[in-house]
Symmetry: D2
Subunit: 243 residues, 4 copies
Amino acid sequence: MSTIDDLAKHLATSNPVEIIGSALAQFGPDCAISFSGAEDVVLLEYARQTGKPFRVFSLDTGRLHPETYRFFAKVEEFFKLKIEYCFPDAQEVQRMVRAKGMFSFYQDGHHECCGIRKVEPLRRQLAGLRAWITGQRRDQSPIRASVPVVQLDGSFVGKDAGPLAKFNPLANIPGEEVWLAIRGLGLPYNELHDRGFVSIGCEPCTRAVLPSQHEREGRWWWEDATKKECGLHQANIAKDASA
Amino acid sequence: MSTIDDLAKHLATSNPVEIIGSALAQFGPDCAISFSGAEDVVLLEYARQTGKPFRVFSLDTGRLHPETYRFFAKVEEFFKLKIEYCFPDAQEVQRMVRAKGMFSFYQDGHHECCGIRKVEPLRRQLAGLRAWITGQRRDQSPIRASVPVVQLDGSFVGKDAGPLAKFNPLANIPGEEVWLAIRGLGLPYNELHDRGFVSIGCEPCTRAVLPSQHEREGRWWWEDATKKECGLHQANIAKDASA
Amino acid sequence: MSTIDDLAKHLATSNPVEIIGSALAQFGPDCAISFSGAEDVVLLEYARQTGKPFRVFSLDTGRLHPETYRFFAKVEEFFKLKIEYCFPDAQEVQRMVRAKGMFSFYQDGHHECCGIRKVEPLRRQLAGLRAWITGQRRDQSPIRASVPVVQLDGSFVGKDAGPLAKFNPLANIPGEEVWLAIRGLGLPYNELHDRGFVSIGCEPCTRAVLPSQHEREGRWWWEDATKKECGLHQANIAKDASA
Amino acid sequence: MSTIDDLAKHLATSNPVEIIGSALAQFGPDCAISFSGAEDVVLLEYARQTGKPFRVFSLDTGRLHPETYRFFAKVEEFFKLKIEYCFPDAQEVQRMVRAKGMFSFYQDGHHECCGIRKVEPLRRQLAGLRAWITGQRRDQSPIRASVPVVQLDGSFVGKDAGPLAKFNPLANIPGEEVWLAIRGLGLPYNELHDRGFVSIGCEPCTRAVLPSQHEREGRWWWEDATKKECGLHQANIAKDASA
């Protein structure tokens, strides 16, 4: 898919507003921003700065922090938009929790639960899109260290079973700069960040980190650092493994 | 349905263990205890004391407190059982929250949200039963003041579209006694009770009460006291209205 | 001291405003309200309703909850007054905590620490008064069950080494009524009451209680219920012991 | 005082254990570690590693977090030592809080309150010493950027009105390394660090910081960054001002 490769070269040193602007220009309403309820709120601000209309979706796994739900409401109010929430399938959730309880991930890993509560709802949402925009950054974890600004998403299928482009406008942006932007621009943020949380996911699988501790140590802390993807960005691991 | 009326008379002054024992004897695996994640944990203890096998289900609305999920796990461990969790339908939840956001109940009342997250999953669960056992108590609210020990559930339909019996073994038990039992027997309890919570439901719709404040003031506090049923026990209101 | 006995008879069925009014009329600036930072804030409201000037003091033990200090500030603002804080002696505190650490009361009882942090500062304050007003209520604990509305304080000495009158205007008032007054009149209250705390003292020696649990079980819970006075109201125990 | 200058040169590149060892060798029981209840707990570990006996003191201002008091107890237990707590003078505290309330620092700055609750008790403690050891680090704030490893303390007077040496064994150590040591060695730490707190002082004057925010922004945040010393390390500012 030469288009994506060309784009990747073209945008390699562009700033986030330019990258998002390019995604929106090319894909319009077939493109949407994936918003996690954490510091990737800057994506929405950068999208706003393009002056173009944009869609936002979030994965409500049914196990998010109460603070995250309140943050969603603040974000909808602040940016005057409606988030397209994606909710897991009742039968799949029931099958898992009736068999294994509410905290099986502490025993046999987070992949089954993430698969049901995050990956399947995401698959459903992406099946209606041709491109999505994520908040992945290279400094977030070892397995995100080579995330490109644009890539072909090999893990999911887009609209009409077609290809899916994945834009990572923050790939080159260090976390410090994201936070300077949030504070400098007065963007709303998840109140958990006031309590030592850096990276934020589901409530049972997220915790605050100590001073100087890497943000990813606050996620799935009982598991090996090289497996810490929930399946949304599975390609990072696949690529890594084949390397 | 003369059987229910006879039973109601027969059990009117029975203790909770006798009432649950009678339900389990008559309905066996077609009967299940509805466990809310709060002080109705005593129902499980009384069921255990009958010596008979019993089923337990809970409504996981996707908006419960993290503390309530942890309490579910403690209860499963303590009583050595698996709770049959009931989860709301993805399409119904998405339709509501994409249109109205995550907190629409503060604007237009809790009935729509309770309908999707509690009543429909309950309806699904009850459709496989002939009887259910609840923790309703007469001292909980004005509209529960005449809850009988056994009643025909006119709001839901049971197995094979048949009638459904509803047992309320705590109807005559004051809250003080329930708490004496929990503390005296060392039963696990929801840690929110350590922080001023008495009645516990979904996180955004529950709050702690002040000393001497009625427990029901901690639920849907922005609404009128006479409407504070979520639809699980709708008959209480219907009966009241027709009176 | 016949005056006190006459007063006690005279005020036995008076309401708190009348009792406080009588104390202020008789003792003027030689009388002060002892405010604990909890629900005895109603004393200040009743004093305000007398229309007379009144003094308020509080014992800052150096170990109060941050929430209690914030509540003091709210009370000063709400009633437009300055609280006369009483602070423990540095040498006494140092002697104890250097020898035994910060939590010796869990080992050998709360009397030594209360003696240094509460009783001595109180003794200093009372030495400048002829009367004090407290929030003691009969329903607070077994050893307060016969607290009179007015009494001669046999445990402390007043101004010029003279006698000291002690008024307990809430003696006959149940806790429920105190809370109805606080909520009904919109008085400020300690935010700990929003988190399950009823009776409030020092941070390490106070905890929230469960629903239906007696308020005094939240104080010095590792000790015997019949010894739960900190020395401020020592006479309650002495009298009891001699009975 | 040539000795200090010589020492400073001699120890300029020494590690903390060597610096503390040198202080203890030279001053013995006339030297003590000042422990703030935060990440300077590593000082105690380094002192332990010297194999020499050492004294520790802490300033209990009467307004510390409950978590800090609990941490003091954990530290005493872990290192098997007694902390020499220093408590403020009752008359001084009462004079201030009776006149201005409990939060006057938000209005007219933290220096008056720090003066009474920290500096005077420290002055009393230092008057019995010839040397003290602090946890100051150059990366903590702009006004600590040139803190030397050893210096003559020009702000306080030592035993017998003599000179006072001040050792800063962490001067050259970045915060990241301090935290690696705490986690790597399994040292106890203040539980506030689990909730986003980095630098920790008194409760009303300390707050958690956001991800990537400088630790000093969590202290006296309503004041100018160049004035953020409480008087313990006043010389840093004086020196700076004269520069």
